[in-house]
């Protein structure tokens, strides 16, 4: 593997945003026909580096060599001409257009469109990759996994032999991930080079030949996969030892803080999502909600938060009927904290600064405003204090939240929701898209809350995470809880059965 010539070489790449160095003297060498992983936490500068290679950003210093020749890439067109194709984490697709239109988009050819030949070639390429794709289907009707295949196909259609994949599995379901790995192996066998950007250790261990670990914009290490271990990688990536298992003391259970009694609700399309769901969370315990995505988890969280109305049943928070309280009163009066699943759309106002996001739910009342006047000084001081205690990495509290990494965004929400000592915390998929360091932080924070007597409802599709953190587990299936057990008695097998709707004997 090491004898293969370098497909792409980076020498001392520097990219600055203002005074912030997103890439600081990054060098790496990618061997032809290999799968090379770039591993790093969110905000380590991986995506920035890829955008430099792909010509979306221009580097402030350093050289890029493609097949040994120095190149200047100032535009995706030039990258493509060099055989470099990129699949972004958020796909660059036109949803309203069909597969064939998306693939052909931007390619030269006769002005009057005739896509029959393209349709045929797309089908051929799809066959080669072992997937079934109808070239005439509109993009938005395809499952995410297939959309990703179309992205890859689009690059191959342009004769790319170096594929950059930015966090490719973050959007996929476990089954899709398996199929995706097979696809990558196939691509490597066909002699193509793959640059895999990820923060998931197991992916790197399973797939890659070599790995470059980045932290805070610099290269920390470049290692052969054969000569390393997950623990070593995690340590290099985070900069300290990561404890994979969390110790927790037995819960000191208190009074119920959340009681759901036979609640019923519909989803956005008006189809029933919750069908008489009942559960209880007590103070000082973490109740994990286990289930396959789409069994009503999202609606459950929204119903408790007051963002979705229920047609039947009763929600009581700290013994009080919640029906008359709107989302903001549920926080201020009923003492409920809420960490929504979609942190970017629901949890934060991305274009506002950190300080404002910290008081998003409380700035209308004292101490942050009096007689209708907002006290910006107090808000800033509050934010500086929280940012320090929750280890939020930023330049200043007046930075836009959009420019922060996912982990830091989640910390802002946690800080905001936990700071006024809630009795109940509802968290939905709190670690989605986060790296190991941030996941550990989130879990520790939630456990600390529990030890203070807060009741936590922890909704997640990551089974292992729930087994690690929760005290009790309840399985949700088709909008109902069909079984619950203490975490100590739970096994993946038992839960797996329940998750597919089979009752335990």
């Amino acid at each position: 593997m090491t004898a293969a010539p370098a497909r792409l070489t980076l020498e001392g790449i520097v990219k600055r945003f203002g005074t912030f160095r997103a890439n600081d003297n990054v060098s790496l060498k990618i061997a032809k026909g290999s799968i090379h992983a770039i591993l790093g936490e969110n905000g380590a500068g991986k995506s920035t580096l890829m955008n430099v290679i792909y010509g979306l950003y221009e580097q402030d210093g350093g050289r890029i060599l493609s097949n040994g020749k120095e190149v200047r890439i100032t535009d995706p067109r030039e990258a493509m001409a060099l055989g470099i194709g990129m699949v972004h984490q958020h796909f660059k697709q036109v949803n309203t257009m069909s597969v064939v239109e998306n693939v052909v988009l931007g390619l030269p050819g006769r002005q009057i469109l005739n896509l029959d030949e393209d349709r045929r070639r797309i089908k051929e390429l799809a066959d080669e990759l072992g997937s079934e794709i109808d070239p005439d289907q509109p993009m938005w009707t395809l499952p995410i996994g297939t959309q990703q295949r179309v992205e890859i196909l689009k690059m191959l259609y342009r004769d790319a032999d170096l594929l950059i994949l930015d966090e490719p599995t973050s959007v996929l379901t476990p089954t899709e991930i398996k199929a995706f790995f097979v696809l990558l192996e196939k691509l490597r066998e066909s002699g193509r080079t793959i640059l895999l950007i990820t923060h998931k250790l197991d992916e790197v261990m399973d797939l890659a030949d070599r790995v470059t670990v980045m932290r805070l914009g610099r290269v920390e290490a470049e290692l052969e996969i054969a000569n390393t271990t997950p623990r070593e990688l995690a340590r290099v990536m985070v900069g300290r030892d990561v404890v994979f298992d969390i110790q927790h003391a037995p819960p000191k259970v208190g009074d119920p803080v959340l009681e759901l009694d036979e609640i019923t609700a519909v989803d956005d399309r008006g189809i029933g999502a919750l069908h008489g769901l009942s559960l209880t969370v007590r103070g000082g315990e973490i109740l994990g909600i286990v289930g396959i995505d789409g069994n009503g988890q999202g609606e459950l969280a929204e119903a408790i938060a007051g963002l979705r109305s229920i047609s039947q049943g009763r929600i009581a928070i700290c013994g009080q009927d919640a029906s008359g309280f709107d989302p903001s009163e549920r926080k201020s009066v009923l003492k409920m904290g809420y960490v929504p699943e979609d942190r970017q759309k629901v949890g934060l106002d991305l274009d506002s600064d950190i300080a404002f996001n910290m008081v998003l739910r409380s700035f209308r009342a004292p101490p942050f405003s009096k007689y209708g006047w907002i006290d910006f000084k107090k808000i800033r001081a509050h934010a500086v204090d929280l940012a320090e205690r929750y280890d939020i990495r930023m330049q200043s509290v007046s930075q836009r939240v959009r420019d922060l990494s996912g982990g830091n965004q989640q910390k802002i929400i946690l800080a905001r929701e936990i700071e006024d000592n809630p009795k109940l915390l509802v968290v939905a998929q709190p670690t989605k898209g986060l790296d190991v360091g941030a996941i550990e932080f989130v879990q520790r924070t939630l456990l600390a809350q529990r030890d203070q007597g807060t009741g936590v409802l922890y909704i997640s599709s990551e089974l292992e995470e729930l087994l690690l953190v929760a005290d009790r587990l309840a399985v949700i299936f088709k909008g109902r809880i069909i079984g619950d057990m203490p975490a100590s008695e739970a096994t993946s097998e038992k839960l797996g059965l329940l998750m597919t709707g089979r009752e335990l004997a």
Partner: protein, 314 residues
């Protein structure tokens, strides 16, 4: 009140008026549609019609020919489009604000300059215009013949523009790129399309088309220039684009619909002198509002319309 609907001669008359009144709407709607499909809001259509009308008067006055008017009208339209493009695409100023600014500027500029340039003011002009072209045989068909086949050249250009815009958008490679740029400029950029160049081209061509609507008014209808001659047609055209769901063919029919109601209301003004004419004059606008309310929630604009593209924005 509605007797004219039964009498064939009067009906032909109303239909002819309807077509005449819808031509500026068609030009403006096709121009605006092209801009919006490429992702740029062009609410300046009203001002661009006015610019076109003024340019047509200037050209026809100084060159002494309708074709001279046409050339200057297009130049004015293109210039206003360039202004919109520089501000709204390159400098990323809010496109609604730029649009309003262009409208206000057009109103003041054309009123002022017409007093300066035309002896006795724009109203006293007697310009050379385009005359009607009779298409042999077809124009002899009773009722519909004169309506459809005995019109001036600009009418045929307007109808041709509908086919042209449709063909370019949906049957050509560049049209596919335009639609992609309007839906998702980031995707188009990643696919190697020149987002900015394409948006500039669409805005300049679209604005020139809208200006032709103004040229039509001056060079075929009134042969003079009067202040604010566009009289809200640009806004009706915007409504036609929405009503037409950004499809050239449907937007074309929406323009005809608005034109028809305008013709009907003119007829009713004429027939009912004892009712204040403003009541009837409001009719096309009322229809526009009702049509939009009826379609509420069904229209899907190009998803990036009005959002300037910034590659380094995350």
């Amino acid at each position: 009140m509605f007797d004219f609907l039964i009498d064939p001669v009067q009906l032909a008359n109303v239909l002819g008026t309807a077509l005449r009144l819808s031509i500026p709407l068609i030009f403006a709607a096709m121009g605006g549609l092209l801009c919006e499909r490429s992702g740029v809001f062009n609410i300046a259509l009203e001002g661009q019609i006015l610019f076109g009308a003024f340019g047509a008067a200037v050209g026809a006055f100084y060159f002494g020919s309708a074709y001279g008017g046409l050339v200057i009208a297009i130049a004015f339209g293109a210039a206003s489009g360039l202004l919109l493009a520089v501000l709204g695409i390159t400098l990323r100023v809010n496109q609604i604000v730029v649009g309003i600014a262009i409208i206000l500027f057009a109103t003041g500029f054309t009123s002022f300059m017409s007093r300066l340039l035309f002896p006795g003011g724009g109203n006293s002009l007697k310009l050379d215009g385009f005359s009607n072209i009779d298409i042999p045989l077809l124009s002899d068909i009773p009722i519909l013949g004169p309506v459809l086949f005995s019109q001036n050249g600009l009418v045929y250009v307007a109808i041709f523009s509908v086919f042209a815009v449709h063909f370019v958008l949906f049957r050509t490679r560049v049209g596919m790129s335009i639609r992609a740029v309007g839906e998702s400029p980031a995707a188009a950029d990643a696919a190697g399309i020149h987002v900015f160049a394409l948006r500039y081209a669409c805005v300049i061509i679209g604005s020139s088309l809208a200006a032709l609507g103004g040229a039509y008014l001056v060079l075929t209808q009134v042969l003079l220039f009067s202040d604010n001659i566009s009289a809200g047609k640009g806004f009706i055209a915007l409504a036609a684009i929405v009503l037409g769901r950004w499809q050239p063919s449907i937007a074309f029919m929406a323009c005809l619909l608005f034109g028809l109601f305008d013709a009907v209301q003119l007829r009713m003004q004429f027939d009912q002198p004892d009712i204040p004419y403003q009541v009837f004059a409001a009719l096309p606008y009322l229809v526009a509002i009702l049509a939009l309310v009826g379609l509420m929630g069904q229209a899907n604009p190009p998803s990036s319309v009005g959002r300037p593209y910034d590659r380094e924005m995350r």
